[in-house]
Amino acid sequence: MLRDFGILGVVGDTLLWSLIATAALTVILQGSQNMGLSRLSIPFLVGTVFTGNRDRAVLVGFVVYTIGGWLFAIGYHLVFLSVGWATWWLGALLGLLHAAVLLVSVLPVLPHIHPRMASEYAGPTVLRRLEPPGFLGLNYGRETPICTVASHVVFGAILGAFAGAG
């Protein structure tokens, strides 16, 4: 059962738990990158939409990515409200769906929408130089889909567990 919060309480708690869930997602994805499992860096991808400077891109990317995590968490919460209940495994299922959409739909079209990403069809241009992710992000390493799914499942599970607690 969902807990009965006032609107301010819901917003406050959602922001807090979405921050925790985003942190967990970041730890898994960045950890995978630092352990050499995948070269995917979502903050870098996001940051390079705004700047071509590698250092600034990572910083900007982290800020935008954290805000994005909150927004996605609100989306998750709306789903929980819509179905009227929430558990960790429902959150995990939503995370799985989220990761699938990211891997199957978003990453492959990124070369067409990201201002600094090269395309395998057209090649690099003066501004578009980032390596494209390819299907399921496999260009960034064989374990990329696994790491992406794992991180999003944990993200959803934390949100589901929070929303269903009490």
């Binding site: 990158q33 050499g36 070269r39 870098f44 400077n53 891109a57 395309s119 395998e120 057209a122 130089r129």
Partner: protein
């Protein structure tokens, strides 16, 4: 075993680098050695150590050719001209060092190797062969086509991305292609590297030309700062550019050489990994930088020396990697045949666990040289140096492995005692101008005690020469460094006798062997250590025998390869370059010999505190 065919002589290689890594380019256009991202990383091209399986990246005419090459001015940009029956093409190789050549708002790959093929006249069929073998040809990899973005070789968390104007297709487990290059035509190849991050796809054509031009400009600007205007300037500047290639822009450390396991005799087993920083080289390297106007490099190097050695303070290790790490465990790569069958192939270096007393003198003397040149030492550095002094006072009587890192039982090497003297003498000189936290009286007492031991037991009156070990009767070439390090003036009778005996026993033409047979525990012969010939030149120049010094120096210059590079050793009979290549210590020795010939490097008797 492939003990000959497929292996170029070491002299046929030239080095290109970006101050973080170095590639060796053969006379035949083949890159047979490249470790990315750092000097001591695993090689992606190790054809140098195994022509069959090691991996290489070749661009050259498809048929017979004659090749001539040169560096473009005082830079690390290499030009090779291939002459064939149908025409001539020029291959330009460089590692990009100017990351913002195309503007700061464009991300760049962390490493990039640029190769440009230009038709000069006629038309030439040019062939490309690309055989990447990550992880010293032991790690699995995927080589996949990425459409217009080129070919990706991925292995673990590493991406090697090849873009080419020359169409390539699969050939075995690599790529191959060929194209006819007509006069005026320009074709580009770019190999870039990214680890643990999203890759960057470099542009070819005009953008690549801008990166190459910026790299050339960067090197020209760097080499213009060289203040040396004495004789043999071209050789000195080439040596400095080589040292700059071997000086890590990330930390300031200078690696001994960019290669591993090139043998000191063809087919021999003295095959060591030199892709680390030896403290043995510290003082002379730093002084070479300071004396030629490369102050930034000297400062960075000293900072690295003092920072890296904090991990082991107050004792010093023999070698560290560029990041100051000391875990350099030696292991063999048994799947590689070795250059011309010289096995085993070793990476890591077992010398890291040895006791070498000379390193204390090297580090403290480097600090003194830095202070002499106007540098300031902060309080923490003074404490650090005083701590090393305490170590010397406690250790100097111990037997050690010496400057030559012998792998037999430790011995009482005279040169190690000399360097202990240099350590304490340098501390006292620093203390005189700006007090150090140390008991100066005790340090002086120990220094004088060391000197007494050297002069009584390290000198053989019958031979009229200093000797390699206390109470021994062998000599080795390290004794020639005594004047350069300020222990004895070169014109001192004892030093003259030492020079005479060293040349008599170890000399071979202009070359000088570092020691006699069986000295290091290996029965097999080795070449002549290239630096020793320059040390002899230095002593001759300091004694005022300029004619002999010049003749020796010029004979040694003739032993460099066609682009002015030296390895660790030369075959004493044929002059063939042997050992790891190019070797920083040899180039440092060349610079000091040239400085002495120009008069700039002379340490006069009054400049030393030693009373001869």
């Amino acid at each position: 075993m492939h003990a000959g065919p497929g292996y170029l002589p070491l002299a046929d290689y030239a080095a290109i680098g970006d101050c973080r890594s170095v590639a060796l380019v053969g006379h035949n256009g083949s890159i047979d050695w490249l470790c990315w991202p750092h000097y001591s990383s695993a090689a992606v091209f190790a054809g140098l150590l195994d022509a069959r399986t090691g991996g290489a990246f070749a661009v050259r005419p498809a048929g017979e050719f004659q090749a001539t090459r040169r560096y473009r001015g005082d830079t690390a940009v290499l030009e090779t001209i291939f002459e064939t029956e149908t025409g001539r093409v020029r291959l330009t190789d460089a590692m990009a060092v100017a990351p913002d050549a195309e503007g700061a708002d464009v991300p760049q790959p962390s490493r990039e190797l640029l190769r440009r093929v230009e038709g000069i006249d006629g038309a030439v069929d040019v062939a490309v062969s690309y055989r990447p073998r990550p992880g010293f040809a032991r790690r699995p990899f995927d080589l996949t086509r990425r459409g217009a973005c080129g070919w990706a070789c991925t292995s673990g968390d590493e991406l090697f991305l090849l873009r080419s104007d020359i169409p390539l297709s699969r050939s075995g487990d690599g790529l191959a292609g060929s194209v006819r290059v007509a006069r005026g035509e320009q074709l580009w190849l770019s190999l870039s590297y990214t680890s643990r991050d999203i890759g960057i796809v470099p542009l070819l054509g005009d953008a690549a030309q801008r990166r190459l031009d910026a790299t050339q400009t960067w090197w020209e600007a760097w080499s213009r700062q060289c203040r040396y205007d004495g004789p043999y300037r071209a050789a000195v500047v080439r040596s400095l550019v080589t040292l700059k290639m071997l000086a890590s822009s990330l930390t300031g450390a200078v690696v001994a050489a960019p290669t591993a396991s090139l043998p000191e005799a063809v087919g021999g087993s003295r095959n060591w990994d030199y892709r680390f920083c030896w403290l043995r080289d510290a003082s002379l390297t730093l002084r070479a930088f300071l004396a030629t106007g490369c102050r930034a490099e000297a400062e960075s190097y000293l900072e690295w020396l003092l920072h890296a050695t904090r991990l082991t303070w107050p004792t010093l290790n023999v070698l560290y990697d560029v990041h100051g790490r000391t875990d350099l465990t030696e292991r063999t790569l048994d799947h590689l045949d070795g250059w011309r069958g010289s096995r085993p192939v070793r990476v890591g270096n077992g010398a890291h666990g040895q006791l070498q007393l000379d390193v204390y003198g090297e580090v403290i003397r480097a600090a003194l040289d830095f202070a002499d040149a106007g540098g300031r030492l902060d309080r923490a550095t003074k404490r650090l140096l005083a701590g090393f002094g305490r170590s010397v006072c406690g250790l100097w009587r111990e037997p050690d492995c010496g400057i030559w890192e012998v792998r037999t039982r430790p011995r009482q090497f005279t040169f190690s005692k000399v360097m202990c003297w240099v350590a304490l003498d340098s501390l006292l000189r620093l203390h005189e101008r700006d007090p150090l936290p140390m008991p100066a009286g005790r340090v002086r007492e120990v220094r004088d005690g060391i000197e007494q031991v050297i002069e009584t037991r390290g000198f053989d009156a019958r031979l009229g020469s200093y000797v390699s070990t206390l109470d021994g009767d062998d000599v080795d070439a390290s004794l020639l460094l005594m004047p350069l390090l300020g222990y004895r003036p070169a014109d001192d009778l004892r030093m003259r006798g030492t020079l005479h005996l060293v040349l008599d026993r170890l000399g071979s033409g202009a070359l000088v062997r570092r020691y006699g047979r069986n000295f290091d525990g290996f029965a097999e012969p080795e070449g002549a250590f290239a630096a020793c010939g320059f040390w002899a030149t230095d002593v001759l120049a300091r004694t005022g025998d300029t004619g002999a010094a010049r003749r020796r120096f010029e004979a040694l210059l003739a032993l460099a390869n066609d682009v002015g590079l030296y390895g660790e050793e030369h075959d004493a009979d044929t002059g063939e370059i042997l050992g790891n290549f190019p070797q920083a210590f040899t180039h440092v020795a060349l610079i000091h010999a040239a400085l002495s010939l120009s008069g700039a490097g002379t340490v006069r008797r009054s400049e030393t505190s030693h009373a001869a």
